[in-house]
Each structure stands twice: as structure tokens, then as C-alpha cells.
Symmetry: C2
Subunit: 445 residues, 2 copies
């Protein structure tokens, strides 16, 4: 097909990349100076860079790979499906089997629809909420990331210069040129702050289609919604005809049935993505039959007509089905236990190094904060430029000197391919890293 | 991994599907009564149903498969990549190679960014247009389909009861509960109608970020934008500081460098999808460097921060690169010539059967209309319920009696896997089909 190309360095590839891709990166998450890391291959919990160096992968494509790289059962099933085709204009049986499998995992998943990304899942969830209630507005937590649909992006990166009074946080656009109409239809509340949130919601009662909540929002600090907060919001939605819409694109990994398993209240709708694709592009919207009916093409008036060329394609369905079969109750518990060990080991390292560092998280994910007390709100978790620079220094140290890959927010998203060995390596590397940045860290406090 | 399941009928699968998926379908395009078709496998230009029947595929997953099913070069390259991994938190070289390949195909593609679907591509294009111009509104053609981003969905299915005066077509929501702010920020124009379109645009001059145009919009009738119309709109955008944004998700297949090759004007931005993924979920935004710069994370103020877990994943990049390498200038010309033969043969059948039927299209795609004169506008192309029922009858006849699969709008999207043999079969089947529906068709006129 093609003549083999001479191997290039990251600098060489990036130089070409900058001539054809804005900033040379297809995703801003992989951007770094002087140039991005380029990966040649992955296997289990390891990724090998184009520099030939093998590193432990604690990032797993931004939390999307629950079994690490090239799990043989997933790869085998995908190769089998590849011989049959990747996409058809017609339906396939595997989408029904996979829909059934996911619906069986959480009592709130009465019906499900597949899309191609978490972004599409959240967009479909918001549109379904509007279609069901006939209302235009949504409420979301300040600082929470929910993909790239502009309504869901409001106040994702609010900062002290624009976030406004905590009693009425501003609706801050992420993208320049966001229409005022978008900002007007999104109301922002402070996560886990019951009194303020209810007061904010009350002001718009009757106009809110859904309250959008990631139960453990990464960018808010990877802190759990308290049970009391969730119950208060749920109660408010019941009293005010709004839907409770969970974004579990990331958090579904925390339990067999997602983070919602930890709460006595059940969301009306849930957006899924990441791990349910088995390494392939995926998203899904699950929820109560009564609400999901807005999508039903059998209805005389279809309130929410919806399609998608690659939605429920049999490759994603096959990979996802095998991945989720493997991620059974036992595998979830085992992975969460391993992650707990890692957190304990890192907290030990924090003590030994005597640094002002804290850890937050749940299930198979955690995030490390360069402050003694873990943040409890987005505004507390907000990083100054100095802290962000120090995080980057630490990430670089871990990557280049310790051969360890983390998520760029200084977070780990575990995979079942990891074992105690890699956890030990992580804890040792962290201890060295903490000692390295300690002088700078102490100045920051 | 699992015990083999007994084979089920479509009715049995669909019965289960309805218990877990709204309407039992993951995409409304595959919905049909009494139940959807389920595909077992595909190979070249053939798909085999779960009923064991092999059919000729003229739909190619809604125009997405330019080489039909399981092309050995694509499958081989994907299997090779599968052994290396499907997705990483880091960049890969293949995204740069593929970006280069696509940028080399059209002079307007100075820079490119990958996303996961045509929907995401159009959404990114609209957001980039707003970010570049700082303006909130977009203009789009009545009846044109541009994916599921709500701004792009406005007036996609306008009908006589709500489309309003042609001088100022209404902004009609597709999804119930669409915010008024969305409708207010989308202005709708009649495709190919220079005078009315310019008058409509002039009313909002200074507020329009981009004029969104599919150069050969499928649902408007699969008719080409006239050269004069495109020049007039282009001129208007130059004079009024707006961008010309092409949706070439479907039409890129029509030439080596897309439908834009046929016009003397060049769009500022182009949304891509479908065939460029080689059968895997894909989307892309390409365009002028100056505009694409809004995405550049190296800028001190990033006007349009953008990321995506599966964007530019190496499986899609690999499949897409091989598919597009194979779809070289010669392959494009050959495929377009074959399609032309098919159209000629069908027009012959129309004459022989003496039915009021016409054909529109371009490149490797065409659409058949149950009216003597081809539609020239969306309002002319609009199907009554009676016509739609007759189209469905014909589609069913072709599917079950002739073993031929078309797109449900009565359109064909050719693949390079097709040959004169299948074209002959199509023409013969069409002739029989036309004769079958002739009595009903004559009543409709």
C-alpha cells in the first residue's frame, strides 16, 4: 500500500502537524509545550511512545479504556466483526444485545439510545429534557465539564474575573461568540451548596427542563455530590416538574450501575460514554421509558426525531458489549479496591514527603490537589497559573523520569490491566515527585 | 466468552429491542413497519440479512461507505492498528498523515480538525464561525439536513402548515421544546433563490456569522446549488463580513476535492464526515488558516477551546486514510461514470414504463422523485403522505422482491465495489418497480 516511512521524532511530526492542524493537535487535551507526546502502541496498562519508551498508563484515553489497551477478548471480537462489516444502513442484533446488557445494569435505565460521543449523549439528554417538558432552560454546576454542546459548556471554565457572586453565579460562555440566547437559557449553581442552589432554581421554577449533574465532576475537583445535595435537588425537580439528568460519561465506571448506585434518588435520564465503547467512539442516553418515549418513531408526533450515521455501529457495539461483560460486579469491586490502595499509598507519600497535598475521587478514579485540604467547591479547586505550572512540572517529571502517564488535571483513571506492581511504582514516583516540587509548593501555600 | 445463541427472526429481535430502545431502533433512519431489517454481514457491494438473503447495497450506510463493505486494504490496516491500540490520551502520527492527505485534496482545506460525527463537524463549524466573527446568527437553507445540532436543525422538516411565506420562511423547530433563542438565531432562506436569499440576508447583515450551505442538499431534492446562487451568496458574505460554510459531509464524495471543486468560489470552512472515516465514526472541520486559528491552543486567548475523547482516534484515522488513498482521482472519475450510466439506465426505464418519474443528483449519488419534472426547490421536493407511502411501497418491493437496498428517501449512494452488473440489476428492478406502482402513481399526479 505504502512505502515504509523513516521514523520521525515528535518534533518532526509536530512540525508537520502545525502546518495542517490548528495548534498541531486534534484535541486540546493532548497539547503540551514544546510538542505533544506521540504514542506508537499500547498493551495492557502500558503505552509505548514513538521514542520507544514504555510507560505505565494511568490516563486510559481520558478514562475511556476500562481494560487498558488491546484486551484480547475485545480485540478478538472486533476482528470477528470487522470481517462482517463496520456499519450498515440497517440495524444489527448486537445493538439490541448491548442495549439489554446496559439496561440490566441500572434500574434507572429502562430504555437506551446510542450515539457517537459523550458530547452527543449530553446534547441528546438536554434535547430530550426540553422535548419532554416543553421548557427551554437547563441548570448546571459551575465548573462542571459536560462535552462541547454549547449549552452544556456554560461556565465550564469560569474564573475569578468573571464568575460573579456565588449567590448567582454568572453564565460565562466558553467559546467566543456564544449567542446570548444560549447563556440566557443556562442557569449556573454552586455544586453541593444546597441553600444557594435551591434559591437559584426557585427563581426560574417552571422554566427549567432539567438539572444537569455529574455526580462526581472532575473539573469541580472530582468530589462527590453529597447525598443531601442530591436529595434536595431531586426533591426540587419533583416539586417543579423538571427532570434530573445525570452526566455519567466518566462516572459510570465507579460502580456496576454507575455513580447513581450510591444515591437513594434515581435520575430521569443518564448520559453515558467513555468505557461503554470498549475503546471505540460511543455515547448513549438512558432513562425512564416515559421520558425516552420522546424519541420513539412509532409515535404519531415524534417530539424528538433523532438519527446518526454511525450511531450503534456494530464495531462499537461489539467492543462495548465485550468490555462491559468483562467489567462485571467482581471486576468493578476489584478495580475499586486496587484504586483505594493506590490512594492510600499516595496519601502515605504525602505524609512522608510532608507536603500540602490532598486526594479526592471515587471508585476507580482520583485526582491529586496541590493543597493541604481537599477542595469542596469549584472555586476552591480553581488553580492559579502558578499552581497549574507546578502541576505541569510534576506531570513532566512523572512522564519523562518515571515513565508514568497521568491525566493533565493530575488525575488517574484506573484500568483493570493495572496491578499492585504499577500501584507501587506510582506511589514511589509520586513520593519522589512531591519531594522535587516541595520547595516551590511551600512558597505557593 | 458466550454460549452461541439460537438464531432469531427480525420480529423476535425487534420485540426485545422495543423493551430496551425507544421504538426499538437506535437510528430513526432504520425504522420501518412492521420491523427493521437486521443485517448479518456485508461484503463488497452486498449485504446479507439475518434472513440469509444477499442483497445489493446502494445505500452504503447512508452514503458513508465509499468502498462498500470490508474492503481488504481497509480491514487489513485496521487489524494492524487494532494490535497497537484503538485510542490513547496522547497524539498519534496517523492523525497528522491523514490531516495532510485531506488538506492536499482541496485548496480550501488549509487546516483541519477531526471530530466524531458529521453532527459534531457542523456544530464545530458553526461555533468556529461565531468565534471568528463574534456574531450570533447563522443562515441556512429551508429543508437542508445538517445533523442534530439544534441550530443546524431549524426548518429541516418544515411543511406547508408551518413553513410560511417564501419571502421570509419561518424558523421551524425540529425538536419540541427547542429554545426560542435558537430559532431567533437561525435565519432560513430558499435554496437557489438568489433574490429572496439576498433580501433575507440583507435584513440581518452584521449579525450573521456564517451562511451554511450543503452544495447538493439531499432533502432539498439532491439538487445542485447553481453557480450563480453560490457566487451571489459568496459575494454577499465578502461584503458583509460573514463566512461561507459548506456542509460537505455527504457531498465530499462527488469530486476528488468535494463538491466545492465545481464552483469558482471557495468556502471559508467545510464540514466533513461519512466517507472520510473508512467505515468508522468520523467528522472533520477544514478551512482557512486564519479562521481555523480560533481553535489553536497556542494562542494567548483561545477563542474556541475544543477537545473530544475519541476525536482523531487511530482506528478511524487509519481506516479513513486508506479509504481516501484508494479513492484517488481515477477512482472518483470511474465511480462517477458508473453512476452516470445507472442514472441513464433508470431514465430509460422511466421512458419505457412511461411513468412520471425524474432523477436528480451529482457525482456518485442520485435521488429518484415520483414526479415528471425534477424538483427545483425544497417546497417542490416536499412529499405528501401519499407520495411517501408509495415510495415506501417501492422500497419494500425492491428490498424483498429484487434484493436491492436503497436509502429511504429513494436515493442511491454508490460505492466503488459496484460494477456494471449491479447497475443492470438496478435498472431492471426499477423498471419492474415503476410498472408495479404505475397505476397508483398516475392517480397521484
Amino acid at each position: 500500500m505504502e512505502t515504509p516511512k523513516p521514523k520521525r521524532t515528535a518534533e518532526e511530526i509536530y512540525k508537520q502537524a502545525c502546518t495542517v492542524i490548528p495548534g498541531g493537535v486534534s484535541r486540546n487535551t493532548v497539547f503540551r509545550r514544546p510538542c505533544p507526546h506521540y504514542t506508537a502502541s499500547g498493551s495492557g496498562c502500558y503505552v509505548t511512545g514513538i521514542d520507544g519508551v514504555r510507560r505505565i498508563d494511568f490516563a486510559n484515553n481520558m478514562a475511556a479504556l476500562i481494560h487498558g489497551h488491546i484486551h484480547p477478548a475485545i480485540t478478538g471480537a472486533v476482528i470477528e466483526q470487522l470481517q462482517k462489516g463496520t456499519a450498515f444502513t440497517m440495524a444489527t442484533e448486537v445493538e439490541v444485545e448491548f442495549a439489554q446488557l446496559l439496561c440490566d445494569r441500572a434500574p434507572g435505565f429502562e430504555k437506551i439510545r446510542f450515539v457517537n460521543s459523550g458530547t452527543e449523549a449530553v446534547m441528546a439528554m438536554i434535547k430530550a429534557s426540553r422535548a419532554f417538558t416543553g421548557r427551554p432552560k437547563i441548570a448546571k454546576a459551575e465548573g462542571a465539564y459536560h462535552g462541547t454542546y454549547d449549552f452544556a459548556e456554560v461556565s465550564q471554565t469560569s474564573n475569578p474575573s468573571n464568575w460573579g457572586d456565588i449567590d448567582r453565579p454568572n453564565s460565562v460562555p466558553l467559546v467566543h461568540g456564544t449567542p446570548q440566547g444560549v447563556l440566557d437559557d443556562v442557569v449556573v449553581f454552586p455544586f453541593n451548596d444546597i441553600e444557594r442552589t435551591i434559591a437559584i432554581l426557585n427563581r426560574l421554577a417552571g422554566q427549567i427542563a432539567c438539572v444537569l449533574i455529574d455526580p462526581i465532576p472532575h473539573r469541580v475537583g472530582l468530589i462527590r455530590a453529597t447525598r443531601e445535595f442530591m436529595e434536595a435537588v431531586y426533591k426540587w425537580t419533583r416539586e417543579n416538574g423538571a427532570l434530573l439528568a445525570f452526566d455519567e460519561v466518566v462516572t459510570f465506571r465507579t460502580n456496576y450501575g454507575g455513580a447513581q448506585e450510591d444515591y437513594p434518588v434515581r435520575p430521569d435520564l443518564t448520559a453515558l460514554g467513555k468505557i461503554i465503547g470498549g475503546g471505540f467512539p460511543v455515547g448513549a442516553l438512558a432513562g425512564r421509558s416515559e421520558v425516552m418515549k420522546v424519541l420513539d418513531p412509532r409515535e404519531s408526533k415524534v417530539l424528538f426525531p433523532h438519527s446518526g450515521t454511525f450511531s450503534a455501529n456494530p464495531i462499537t457495539m461489539t467492543a462495548g458489549r465485550v468490555a462491559m461483560e468483562l467489567f462485571d460486579r467482581e471486576a468493578v469491586l476489584k478495580l475499586n479496591a486496587l484504586t483505594k490502595t493506590a490512594v492510600a499509598r499516595i496519601e502515605e507519600a504525602v505524609k512522608i514527603a510532608d507536603v500540602p497535598v490532598s486526594v479526592t475521587g471515587a471508585g476507580s478514579m482520583f485526582r491529586i490537589h496541590l493543597k493541604a485540604l481537599p477542595p469542596t467547591t469549584y472555586r476552591e479547586a480553581y488553580q492559579t497559573a502558578e499552581t497549574a505550572a507546578l502541576v505541569n512540572e510534576l506531570l513532566d517529571y512523572l512522564f519523562f523520569s518515571e515513565n508514568i502517564v497521568l491525566i493533565n488535571t493530575f488525575a488517574c483513571m484506573f484500568s483493570t490491566a493495572l496491578s499492585q506492581n504499577e500501584v507501587d511504582r506510582l506511589a514511589e514516583a509520586m513520593l519522589k515527585g512531591f519531594r522535587l516540587i516541595k520547595p516551590k509548593l511551600e512558597i505557593l501555600q
